[in-house]
Symmetry: C2
Subunit: 206 residues, 2 copies
DNA sequence: AGTCTTACCTACCAGTAGGTAAGGAGTCAA
DNA sequence: TTGACTCCTTACCTACTGGTAGGTAAGACT
């Protein structure tokens, strides 16, 4: 399964995924069609079905790839040597990067459409958020132990608040096309939820 | 224009709006069709076009009615005699009620689909959020003056954080079907953003 | 009485949705 | 050189999308 590439061009399947991913993040899963991908890739609709039997499978693969990249990003933060507060800021900056591309978080978008999605996609979305909360919880717990962070309530609750706070900030900032709006909300969220001593609201995220 | 009702039934136009509203809040604007409303109301698709020329106009009317009800709810909170913290809790409980119906906030859902919507709907969505932030800003400012609330940064920024925090908490809690999850995030949000003295995280919202 | 309006109907439209069947061109190893 | 394999094509399918044309029954207005 060495997956040797035929031409110099990137493998079609991953180009399909790139386009589909952007379409989901911008228009939602119910807001695009196979025809949209086909015309952009200058390929026939039928070819898409060769690579992904149906839209449901395409959606599954999309979430899997996105979650995988997220896992990698979190692992990179873990090995960055930052303190807990720095790790939380790095986490928020992942979201800011998504917004700079004028996109919604893939799983945040799919969360809105949750009830219309096939079961496997629903399960994968839940897994994504669980995974994020597990990571945040451990960062928060360690930060609290080390005295770098101080917050009330459980680390798990705080983690949930961070995820939903950032997803909401993305959701609302996008119609305004305003990255600063997101950054203000993110900074305030982290400062108030996980500040050590000085609640420095003016600290930049990026 | 006495609008005498033929039968005992409620006016058809508002029943269409009721059904469409629920469909948007649960499935999204791109997640339902005229046929869905027609079959549920046991009426023909063509009749829907009699009441609302197109889906765009239906959407406009939907947002207008929703925003109007929101305005009324905010006015009711204003005259409730609650202190600032109580008003913020009452505000959050509007969102909790939406979630208890297994729905997303109408405008939060439409914010996700923003790029796919006709211009008039886009403008109405922005207006909705602006209106909420204006109201929250004045509650926060007054609360700060009266010493009931204390927070860093501008009241406007804090208002934005509350709106996006609550919308995000709705967005994420819905797939989990977990109202408690929303309430925990909402309480933490209000406590940390606008607490007077004791950061009482265990205070119930409802 | 006649006319206008409201609120619905059936039947239909062009366009698009996701999906399928059958086959052809290029590459490869035997 | 044959056959298998990969990746794509054309040509189609059915179901459904939002929307329209034309008609009808019943009440209200004059």
């Amino acid at each position: 399964m060495a997956q040797i590439q035929k031409r110099g061009d990137a493998d079609t399947a991953s180009r399909i995924l790139d386009i589909a991913e952007r379409l989901v993040q911008v228009r939602g899963f119910n807001g695009f069609s196979y025809a949209d991908i086909a015309s952009e890739l200058k390929i026939s609709k039928a070819s898409l079905h060769y690579h992904f039997p149906g839209k449901a499978e395409l959606g599954d693969t999309l979430i899997g790839r996105y979650a995988g990249r997220f896992t990698d990003a979190l692992a990179a933060i873990d090995t960055s040597g930052e303190d807990a507060r720095g790790k939380l800021e790095a986490y928020a900056s992942i979201y800011a990067d998504v917004l700079r591309d004028r996109r919604m978080c893939l799983c945040g978008m799919l969360a809105a459409e949750y009830d219309t999605l096939p079961k496997p996609m629903q399960d994968a979305i839940i897994d994504f958020f669980d995974q994020n909360e597990v990571w945040l919880t451990s960062v928060l717990e360690r930060g609290q132990e080390e005295g770098a962070l101080r917050f009330s309530g459980s680390a798990g609750d705080a983690a949930q608040t961070i995820v939903s706070g950032l997803e909401g900030a993305l959701l609302i900032a996008r119609p305004y096309g305003d990255v600063a709006r997101f950054e203000a909300a993110a900074t305030r969220l982290l400062s108030s939820l996980a500040s050590a001593a000085a609640p420095d609201t003016t600290a930049a995220i990026t």
